[in-house]
Amino acid sequence: MSKELAIDRIRCDGRGMCAELLPELISLDDWGYPVIASGRVADQLSAQAERAVRSCPVLALTLRSVPVPEDR
């Protein structure tokens, strides 16, 4: 399984904790709302990503497992 960041755009309030804790994958737009890199979260960023998820004051950020396509 690999992990991807997902955000509930309605819950998100532009507080910016996620971008502070995971600048490798999350930046803020001109109004403070997150721009999130798509795709798999690299293993070495996994712990930081979990911290960012826990730190969101409105619980808008989640880390979800997505099945890895089988190698054929």
Partner: protein, 401 residues
């Protein structure tokens, strides 16, 4: 070129077709069996609300999730330039109701809700009158819910949200309404034109449906022709006809046409020369990076200004944001203000670059597709009216609309 199916029957000037005339002309409501799913699937029917999602696939998803939710008959028609849904409900309400019953029974919906625009009084009257004529218990126990006159009120999750929580604002996906989830039963939301097509497919079959259509497209579609044409309004055409052909159906242009807006306010501007031969079919346009949307095609005359029109549309779309998501609320406001400044001839240096950056950045960052539609419209304008954006004189307000 004009191929009447939904709009065939008595003269359109005669108004709403009554139940006995409808049954006499088309026969009674067909029964629902596994054959109906197959017919709808083989017909290739896709939704006519703007997203062109395959109908059979949606029905199978609702059924697989257990059914039991409502069927929302979506006639909200929030797109201001679109008239096809109101027209269909006003003239052929029993086609819509037949389709609604067939869909509700196919997916085992628990109730039928007719979702009609709060300002669309004729459609409200004709649909209510038509329901009163019907014996079917789903309609006797069904109800009409009025959609607020907002652009996003017709979005499928907004319709569901209005029923559940009294506010016609879109909700986060996943899950989509037809998937259910989050304590909600799967809800089938289907456009009124889509349901009317189902009513005919159930009677005549998939092969019949596919016997109309040009250039490999299937079926007929309702379109609203707008702008500098002799006879603006709703036409029913074979899917796949060209932009040039639909212009002819609307009586030709009243002036020289410089650009065409394909697909309404979530669509794309295309310069006239590139537009004439485009096929009006959802999947064929999608292959070209364009959209049929809800079937509005608008013709911009040489006396109108693409920059001014675009700024006006952006202002409208910005004010129609449900204001639930920061990127949409702030991003569209910035796009509208900035394109308005360019239209007024008081652009700041860097405004064009900002428009390009913000429209790229806002995409995919709202809960619904409102910001994507608005950004897409602006990006198409920046291409179609590139020279005009660079050199816009200040004439906003003095143009003839």
């Amino acid at each position: 070129m004009s191929r009447l199916r939904l709009l065939s029957g008595p003269d359109l000037a005669a108004g709403s077709e009554a139940l006995n005339a409808h049954v006499q002309r088309l026969g009674p409501l067909p029964a629902v069996g596994p054959g109906l799913f197959d017919s709808v699937e083989r017909s290739g029917l896709t939704g006519r609300g703007g997203a062109a999602f395959p109908v059979a696939r949606k029905w199978r998803a609702v059924s697989a999730a257990g059914g039991g939710g409502a069927l929302i008959v979506n006639g909200a028609e929030g797109e201001p330039q679109s008239f096809k849904d109101r027209t269909l409900m006003s003239l052929r309400p029993h086609l819509v109701l037949d389709g609604a019953l067939l869909a509700a029974r196919a997916v085992r919906a628990s109730s039928v809700v007719l979702y009609i625009g709060e300002e669309h009084r004729t459609a409200q009257v004709t649909m209510a009158r038509a329901v009163a004529e019907r014996p079917e218990h789903e309609l006797r126990h069904g109800r009409v819910v009025l959609a607020p006159a907002r652009y996003v009120a017709g979005e499928s999750s907004a319709a569901v949200n209005l029923l559940n929580a009294d506010i016609a604002s879109p909700t986060t996906r996943p899950p989509s309404p037809h998937e259910g989830g989050g304590g909600r039963l799967p809800t089938l939301v289907q456009n009124v034109e889509t349901l009317a097509q189902v009513a005919l497919i159930a009677r005549y079959g998939a092969d019949w449906f596919r016997s109309a259509g040009r250039r490999g497209a299937a079926g007929t579609i309702l379109m609203t022709v707008a702008g500098a044409v002799t006879s603006p309004g709703v036409v029913e055409v074979e899917a796949g006809i060209s932009v040039r052909e639909v212009l002819e159906l609307a009586g030709g242009a009243t002036q020289q046409v410089t650009a065409v807006l394909l697909g309404g306010y979530f669509g794309s501007w295309v310069d006239a020369a590139s537009a004439w031969d485009l096929p009006l079919d959802a999947s064929m346009l999608r292959e070209r990076g364009l959209t049929l949307g809800c079937g509005v095609v608008g013709f911009l005359p040489v006396t109108s200004c693409g920059v001014c029109e675009t700024a006006r549309i952006m202002e409208y779309l910005a004010s129609e944001s449900s204001a639930q998501c920061g990127p949409c609320f702030f991003g569209l406001r910035a796009l509208a203000t900035t394109s308005g400044r360019i239209a007024q001839g008081i652009a700041d240096p860097g405004d064009l670059a900002r428009l390009e950056r913000w429209s790229r950045e806002v995409r995919g960052r709202g809960a619904c597709h409102h910001p994507d539609g608005a950004a897409g419209l602006l990006q198409s304008a920046l291409t179609a009216f590139a020279q005009e954006f660079l050199r816009h004189p200040a004439h906003l307000g003095s143009q003839v609309a």
